[in-house]
Amino acid sequence: MNIVLAVASLAYLECVRQRVLYGTLLFSLVLMGASVFISGLFMREIGKIMADFCLGAISLGSLLVPFFLAVNLLAKDIERRTIITILSRPVTRGQYIVGKFIGLVLILFSITVLLSVVGAVVMWISLKIYGPAYFQSLHPQALLAAVLFTFLGQVMLIAVVVLWSCLTNSSFLVTLLTIATYIIGQSLAELVRFMGAPPPGATVSPLAKTVLNFALYLFPNLAAFDVKLAAAHGLMIPANEAMYLLIYWLGYTVSILFIAVFFFKKRDLL
């Protein structure tokens, strides 16, 4: 366990040194700051607009971890053969993968907490500027739940990046696969719903339906973790839905990590 934590803390420190981290954080902070002025252009639901932009900025900022940091940390380690130096020490391949994953989750957690605190401050400033009448529909618990589920969704995506890094040598390919996974994960459930109730006159082939249903089990259903829109209207996620999401999240993430470790152990790194 100590070895896993040592790898995790090294991975965390390595991420903190990446310049792209600060650029993206700055972009998210600017987006949150801009939302104070943008929301003033609307007629009534200023609180909803603020919540949309702040939660969106948190998502955008935390997407940096799977898209850039995870790829840099894992795929480039393998691509540049620097991994061999680490694995020549008493570190098993499984410990290496799990350690890196935990390090990435920790950096994701730090980014999410930082952006959430800034988001709360920005919303408070907006509340002072426009008055509480425009923020009545907001509930802090709903906003916190949205942030938590966004975090869990990104953790799943990080697990998939770990898997892609274990399966291929090229960091470019890992980036492409991660972007594809993200887009599929965000739109798959929507497509399945559309196929289930196509517009009048449109026909859906049974094969396409089967493929999509199969893909729903294969790819992470990231859209299910997106409860930002409901939270912006002050709606809490129902308890049973939250429970299913947590079980699904735990099951999917652990399964993907098992598969990643399995393939990584079989892999020839030389």
Binding site: R44, G56, T150, Q186, S187, E190
Partner: protein, 293 residues
């Protein structure tokens, strides 16, 4: 070295100057194209918009509404008459936003303030508000607005009354609603009802542009309401309707016929109601389509 520095400064000034020169021109040149892009955007099917929005559906719906507000604001500031097809684009855009985020109240507020009052698309606005009533079951405003549209615009008090009663039973409903529901059933006091409604719309609006627009309309309606009250006083005193509003001036009930904030002229109708030739709209320039023709 000195020459090089001067050259660098000159180059920099030229570059920034060209940016300064281009920004307003680009804005003017692209305005027409922006209007055409609207027609393309409205055709994008909803499932595709939903898929492309990824996890940012809230922000996408906010920006789409901002775009719709900008389009309307631009038309008003240019005092340009919006053509029927442009209103159709506008309605489709609003519907798309309502599909993307059906709980977003500003969408319905814009539909009521603009599509009902300016475009006279009452049925379409009511169908949007029905959606609002479905997704905002504890909000009295959707039912209130539907009821008002039936009463004031469609002159159907029977259809209006149940909506107003439903609105009156919901939390936060203004105290005047039960009384209004009763008056509506009798088809009485339309202008008064419109004033109450506009007051409610103004209190629901933060955006200064929309707010000023509504306040202007409120002021014009208030003048009509006051004039109609004077007509009633004249009728009670003289046992017949005045021939024109000038009779109110002659009998000293008013000092002069007031100015319409929209630049129209107030006229007394045969039924004792007061009408303005502006129809509570800005005196408009021809629409872009008409200009092109």
């Amino acid at each position: 070295m000195k020459n090089v520095s001067l050259l660098t400064i000159a180059g920099f000034l030229l570059a920034t100057g060209s940016v300064y020169f281009c920004v307003p021109h680009l804005n003017d040149v692209q305005q027409d194209r922006h209007s055409r892009q609207w027609s393309v955007l409205r055709e994008i099917p909803l499932p595709i918009i939903r898929v492309l929005s990824l996890e940012f559906k809230g922000i996408v719906s906010d920006l789409m509404l901002l775009d719709a507000l900008a389009f309307y604001g631009e038309s008003i500031s240019e005092m340009r008459d919006i053509s029927t097809s442009e209103w159709q684009y506008f309605y489709r855009r609003i519907s798309r936003i309502a599909d993307l985020d059906p709980r977003f109240w500003d969408t319905y507020l814009l539909a009521e303030s603009v599509l009902a009052w300016d475009a006279k698309m009452y049925e379409e606005v009511n169908s949007l508000l029905e959606k609002a009533a479905k997704y905002r079951p504890k909000d009295y405003r959707p039912n209130f607005y539907i009821g008002f549209n039936y009463f004031f615009f469609l002159k159907d008090g029977k259809k209006a009354a149940p909506y107003l009663r439903r609105a009156a039973a919901l939390p936060g409903a203004p105290g005047f609603l039960p009384g209004l529901a009763a008056r509506v059933s009798l088809q009485a006091d339309e202008t008064k009802a419109a004033l109450l409604f506009l007051g409610e719309l103004i209190s629901n609006s933060n955006d200064p542009f929309t707010r000023n627009h509504l306040i202007k309309r409120f002021q014009a309606l208030k003048i009509i309401h006051d004039l109609e009250e004077k007509v009633v006083t004249y009728t009670n005193e003289n046992a017949n309707l005045p021939d024109s509003l000038l009779d109110l001036v002659k009998t000293g009930l008013i000092d002069e016929i007031p100015q319409d904030p929209y630049g129209g002229e107030f006229i007394l109708l045969d039924n004792g109601r007061v009408y303005t030739t502006s129809d509570l709209h800005e005196s408009a320039k021809p629409s872009r389509e008409a200009q092109q023709k």
